[in-house]
């Protein structure tokens, strides 16, 4: 046997055509909650800073999964599909973290790719503003301020209860055991503004589905920043 053929036997890989360049997505978990008239709710304010994002609020969902070993590394996709309500016009914030200690976010664990200052959605670093509603009043209340009437972004007085909200994060993770945590929080905290309609500042979601998926690192965008 010629030497180079012996060497070829030791070359344990093969170049092969890849007609499909995208990576397969494998579903690790699919769960639901609050389909019986109950809701997940909190009146704890979402908090966070650029150095410690994704704090505050309350732990709303937690799921441990085993992320398999995939060639080139793994990207996790976390999806919430639900219906949200807010009292007193509070913003409905959601934060995702992977393996946050005690379910609380940190710089290394939040799913938001970069910690920022409060975004256009006024969500603290590490949080996403998924819904923001207004009361059925001539003047309305929003995030602790009363007597408002000019609307939000020029939309005028309106009520937007029970809006569906759907969000997917991606995050690169190592293979092995991981805990996915979703936190729910509002803007103002529990203190109800004077004259505010409603007895509390709670935000809610109900009829929720949660999906946790994984793929090998995609070749054209490895959960990286786009243009």
């Amino acid at each position: 046997m010629k030497k180079h053929r012996i060497v070829l036997l030791a070359v344990s890989l093969l170049l092969i055509a890849t007609g499909a360049l995208a990576q397969e997505i494998s579903r690790l978990s699919a769960q639901f909650k609050n389909f019986d008239g109950t809701e997940t709710t909190t009146a704890v304010a979402a908090t966070g800073t650029a150095s410690v994002p994704g704090t505050g609020g309350a732990l709303a969902y937690s799921k441990a999964v085993f992320v398999p070993f995939l060639s080139g590394g793994q990207v996790l996709y976390i999806t919430i599909s639900a219906v949200g309500d807010n009292h007193n016009g509070e913003s409905n914030f959601i934060s995702c973290n992977i393996d946050g200690p005690g379910g609380v976010g940190s710089l290394a664990t939040v799913c938001n790719p970069t910690p920022t200052s409060f975004g256009v959605d006024i969500a603290p670093p590490g949080w996403i503003g998924l819904t923001h509603h207004f009361s059925y009043e001539v003047t309305y209340t929003s995030n602790g301020l009363t007597g408002l009437s000019s609307g939000d972004g020029g939309g005028g007085t309106s009520d937007e209860h029970d809006n569906a909200y759907y969000y997917t994060w991606c995050k690169r993770v190592g293979a092995g055991a991981h805990t996915v945590n979703l936190r729910l929080g509002n803007h103002t905290g529990p203190t109800v503004c004077a004259g505010c309609a409603g007895a509390n500042n709670n935000v809610f979601f109900e009829k929720a589905f949660f999906y946790i998926d994984v793929s090998a690192t995609p070749p054209f965008g490895a959960c990286t920043k786009g243009m």
Partner: protein, 300 residues
């Protein structure tokens, strides 16, 4: 076996986009390396249908250095001669037009010399690290210009036969063992039980968890006693997957209660989920708060 391996190598087609997770491969056109001082290099190609000349054939590979001095030599023959002398496979793939090359250079490192010869082709150079920790060129694939787009290297477990995978179970590299047992479980399912049980006793935690995860994915029936014992495994990954595998057992709840104080937060989270199943009529916030505040104890 040799012909089969070679046949597989020759069956490569299509294009490469990203190469990740496999031994490093440099692909595509390389910058022409500068020749050492005092050495002249030239590569002339001709596509004329002229019979190759037998005037000169001088190819040597000494001290890891390649010297070539040929005139109007067919590409295929040139590749074969270099491959024989250097001891590495150089494979022409795709439809490479017949060409005659006149090449002249002396004492270049092998990969540098090959890149000079194949400067007008797409190429893949496979390097691996030997036992001395030295990265060495192991194989080269040559494609027509533009013909290398969209090709990806595929690990052995994707194309190896089941017998070949069985052989990999005793490889010294735990990554190879792990990939092999996971693929075996996927292919043979319950018929791979003996191999899975053996891999569950591997010294390496990665092998154990890949064996267990592969079995779980393949819906294999692992004895409950084995799974229960794995809840004491030193690897939190193994404990998590074992607990998940036990979730369907009639004894799942008392088993999960034992894991409520596991040192791994992920194991504790799953244990809570199994031991205290979510009931929409219960106060879920209490469950989640308990999970958040639970103090771990050292796992034995």
């Amino acid at each position: 076996m040799t012909r089969l391996i070679l046949a597989r190598a020759w069956a490569v087609v299509a294009a490469l986009v990203a190469i990740t997770g496999v031994a490093p491969v440099s692909a595509g056109q390389q910058q022409d390396p500068r020749p050492s001082a005092g050495q002249s290099t030239s590569v002339n190609t001709s596509t004329q249908s002229i019979k190759p000349s037998d005037l000169k054939s001088d190819i040597s590979f000494t001290n890891e250095r390649l010297s070539v001095n040929v005139e109007r030599r067919s590409l295929a023959r040139l590749v074969e001669e270099i491959s024989d002398r250097a001891g590495i496979p150089v494979m022409l793939a795709g439809k490479i037009p017949h060409q005659l090359l006149s090449v002249k250079f002396q004492n270049l490192p092998l990969d540098q010399g090959l890149r000079q010869i194949f400067a007008n082709y797409d190429s893949f150079f496979f390097y691996s690290v030997d036992e001395q920790g030295i990265s060495r060129l192991r194989a080269v694939w040559i494609y027509p210009k533009g013909g290398g787009q969209g090709i990806a290297p595929v690990p052995a477990e994707k194309w190896a036969s089941t017998n070949e995978l069985q052989g990999m179970l005793s490889d010294k590299d735990p990554d190879v063992r792990g990939r092999a047992i996971e693929t075996l479980a996927e292919r043979k399912r319950q018929a791979a039980l003996e191999a899975v049980l053996k891999s569950l006793q591997d010294d390496d935690g990665q092998v154990r968890v890949r064996a267990l995860y592969g079995a779980l994915k393949a819906d294999m029936e692992i004895p409950e006693a084995v799974l229960s014992n794995l809840l004491n495994d030193t690897s939190p990954d193994v404990r998590l997957v074992a607990l998940q595998a036990l979730a369907k057992s009639p004894n799942a709840r008392p088993i999960a209660e034992r894991a409520l104080n596991d040192s791994s937060e992920a194991v504790r989270a799953l244990a809570h989920e199994i031991a205290e199943p979510s009931d929409d009529t219960t106060d879920q916030s209490q469950q989640l708060n308990q999970l958040q505040n639970n103090q771990p104890q050292q796992n034995q």
